[in-house]
C-alpha cells in the first residue's frame, strides 16, 4: 500500500461512517434526543471542552491506574497458575466466572466496603481488565518449548532459573497483548464504575447526567473522547511492544523441524 493510501483509506472510512450517521440522524426519522447528528456532537465537543477535558483527566487516571494494577496482579496470578497445576485446576474456572458478574450487582457492595472514592472504581476496572491479561500471559508461559526446558535441565538449571531466564521473558509478549485487549474493556469498565460506583466526576458521570438533561450530544461527545483515549492507549502499547519485545514477531527457537 502506498503512503497516501495508508492515510487516505482509514480517513475515507471514517468520513463515510460520519456521513451515513449525519444523513440518518437528519432524515432517518429518529428523535434527535435519542441520536444526535455528528455536527451537534462536534459542537458539544467544542462548547463543553472544559467540562469534557476536566472529566477526561479523572477517567483517564482511573483507567491508567486500573490497567497498571490489573497488569501487575494479572501477571502474578498467571505465574502462580503456571507454577501450580492444582491452583490452575481449582481457580481458573473461577476466574472465568468472575467475568460474568454484572457490575451493577457488585458495585453497591464495593461502595460499602471501599467508600465513594477511587477504591471501588479501581476494583471494577481491574476486575474487568485482569482477565485478558491473565489468559494471554498464561498462554505465553505455557507455549514455552518443552525441548527448551529439557535443554536447560541438562544445563543444571533450577526451576527458579528456568523461570527467570526463559519463562519470564517469554511471558512478556503475552502480558502486552493482554494489556492491549484490556485497554478497550477498561474504558467501558471505567464508565460502569462511575455510573454504578457513586461518582461525581469522570466521563461516565458526564454520560449519565447528560441524558436526563436532554444533552445526548454531550453524552456522545464524551463517548467519542473515551474512544479516542482507548485508541491512544492501544497505540502506545503497540509501540511499547515494538520496543520491549521486538523478537515476538519472529518464530521462536530458530529453525523448526
Amino acid at each position: 500500500m502506498s503512503r497516501a493510501a495508508r492515510v487516505l483509506a482509514p480517513l475515507a472510512i471514517l468520513l463515510a461512517l460520519l456521513g451515513a450517521w449525519e444523513l440518518y440522524a437528519l432524515y432517518g426519522g429518529v428523535d434527535r434526543l435519542i441520536l444526535p447528528a455528528p455536527h451537534e456532537v462536534a459542537q458539544s465537543l467544542w462548547t463543553d471542552r472544559t467540562l469534557l477535558w476536566d472529566n477526561l483527566r479523572v477517567t483517564a487516571g482511573e483507567v491508567l491506574l486500573g490497567i497498571v494494577a490489573a497488569g501487575g496482579a494479572g501477571f502474578i496470578c498467571a505465574l502462580a497458575l503456571h507454577l501450580s497445576l492444582a491452583l490452575r485446576r481449582s481457580t481458573y474456572p473461577l476466574l472465568v466466572a468472575s467475568q460474568t458478574i454484572p457490575i451493577p450487582l457488585i458495585a453497591p457492595l464495593l461502595v460499602v466496603w471501599l467508600g465513594f472514592g477511587l477504591g471501588p472504581k479501581l476494583v471494577i476496572i481491574g476486575l474487568i481488565s485482569f482477565f485478558p491479561i491473565v489468559v494471554t500471559t498464561l498462554d505465553a508461559l505455557s507455549r514455552v518449548d518443552r525441548e527448551q526446558i529439557n535443554l536447560l535441565r541438562t544445563l543444571d538449571a533450577s526451576r527458579w532459573r528456568i523461570l527467570r531466564h526463559v519463562e519470564l521473558p517469554a511471558a512478556l509478549p503475552g502480558l502486552l497483548s493482554g494489556a492491549k485487549v484490556a485497554v478497550a474493556v477498561a474504558v467501558i469498565g471505567a464508565v460502569f464504575a462511575e455510573v454504578f460506583g457513586g461518582s461525581s466526576s469522570g466521563l461516565g458521570n458526564v454520560v449519565q447526567y447528560a441524558i436526563p438533561n436532554l444533552r445526548t450530544d454531550r453524552a456522545y461527545a464524551a463517548v467519542l473522547i473515551l474512544s479516542a483515549f482507548a485508541i491512544a492507549l492501544f497505540g502506545l502499547l503497540t509501540l511499547a511492544e515494538r520496543w520491549l519485545v521486538p523478537w515476538a514477531h519472529n518464530p521462536p527457537g530458530g529453525n523448526t523441524r
Partner: protein, 243 residues
C-alpha cells in the same frame, strides 16, 4: 570417568488413542561410549533415538535395563537460542543458569566466539545470524556447560546441505581440539561415518542396536573417500535400505 553405558534398556510410553495404549520406543537397547569416544547412532525416524539421548541426559528414566553416564548436556536439532538475548548471552546461558554472574559468564564465553569464527557477532540477536552461526552459538553454549558427555540430537538436520557439510567439518576439527565423549544421533549415515569413531545402527521401533561398525578411517575424512563410501554402504545395508 565411565563415558556412557546403556544396558538392555526398555522405554514404554503410554499413548492415548492407540488400541494397545502404549508405544515401545526402545527394547533391549544397549550402547557403550568410552570416554573421549565419538559414537554415532543412526536409524529411521521414530526409532527412539531422541529417547535414547534423553535417557543418557537423565531427562527420562528407563522402564527396564540401566543407564550409567557421566554428566551429559543435550544439544537439540533446533538451536533453541533465546530470541531476546544476544549471541553472547545465549552462549553464556549455560553458566548463568548455574548462578554465574552475567559479567563473568560473558568474559568466559568471549574467547569461544573468536575460536569459532563468531568474532564480531557477540551482540547480534539470533534472528540476525545465519543457520550455521546459530548452531555454532548453540555449540558454544553446549561446551560451556562443562560436561564430559555431549548428546547431539541431529544437530545439523535443519541446515541446508552446503552449510551442513561445512558444519560437519567444523565439528570434526572442534572435537579433535576439545575431546569429549559424544553420542551423536543422526539419520544421515554419511554424517555418522565422517564424524564418528563407531557407528551404531538401530532397528525401527522398538529401537535396539542391530549393527555396529568401527570407523577406522584416518581424519580428516571426506565424504568421497573410498573407505567412507564403503562404510556408508555397509551402514545403509544394515539399516535395510535397498542396495
Amino acid at each position: 570417568m565411565d563415558g556412557v553405558r546403556v544396558d538392555g534398556v526398555e522405554r514404554v510410553f503410554r499413548v492415548r488413542g492407540r488400541r494397545s495404549g502404549e508405544v515401545v520406543a526402545l527394547r533391549g537397547m544397549s550402547l557403550r561410549a568410552a570416554p573421549g569416544e565419538i559414537v554415532a547412532v543412526v536409524g529411521a525416524s521414530g526409532c527412539g533415538k531422541s529417547t535414547l539421548l534423553e535417557l543418557i541426559c537423565g531427562l527420562q528414566q528407563p522402564d527396564a535395563g540401566s543407564v550409567a553416564a557421566d554428566p551429559a548436556v543435550l544439544m537439540p536439532q533446533r538451536d533453541l537460542l533465546l530470541p531476546w538475548a544476544s549471541a553472547l548471552d545465549n552462549a553464556a546461558l549455560a553458566l548463568r543458569v548455574r548462578g554465574v554472574p552475567a559479567g563473568k559468564a560473558r568474559i568466559e564465553a568471549v574467547p569461544w566466539f573468536d575460536r569459532f569464527g563468531l568474532g564480531g557477532f557477540e551482540h547480534a540477536r539470533p534472528a540476525e545470524l545465519s543457520g550455521g552461526m546459530r548452531q555454532r552459538v548453540a555449540f558454544v553454549r553446549t561446551l560451556l556447560a562443562g560436561k564430559p558427555v555431549l548428546a547431539l540430537d541431529e544437530p545439523f538436520a535443519a541446515l541446508d546441505a552446503l552449510t551442513r557439510q561445512e558444519m560437519q567439518g567444523w565439528l570434526a576439527r572442534t572435537l579433535a581440539e576439545e575431546p569429549r565423549t559424544v553420542v551423536l544421533v543422526t539419520h544421515d549415515v554419511e554424517e555418522a561415518v565422517v564424524l564418528a569413531d563407531r557407528v551404531v545402527v538401530m532397528s525401527p521401533r522398538p529401537g535396539r542396536a542391530v549393527a555396529e561398525l568401527d570407523v577406522r578411517v584416518p581424519r580428516p575424512r571426506h565424504r568421497t573417500d573410498a573407505d567412507v563410501v564403503a562404510l556408508r554402504e555397509r551402514a545403509l545395508q544394515a539399516l535395510g535400505a535397498p542396495a
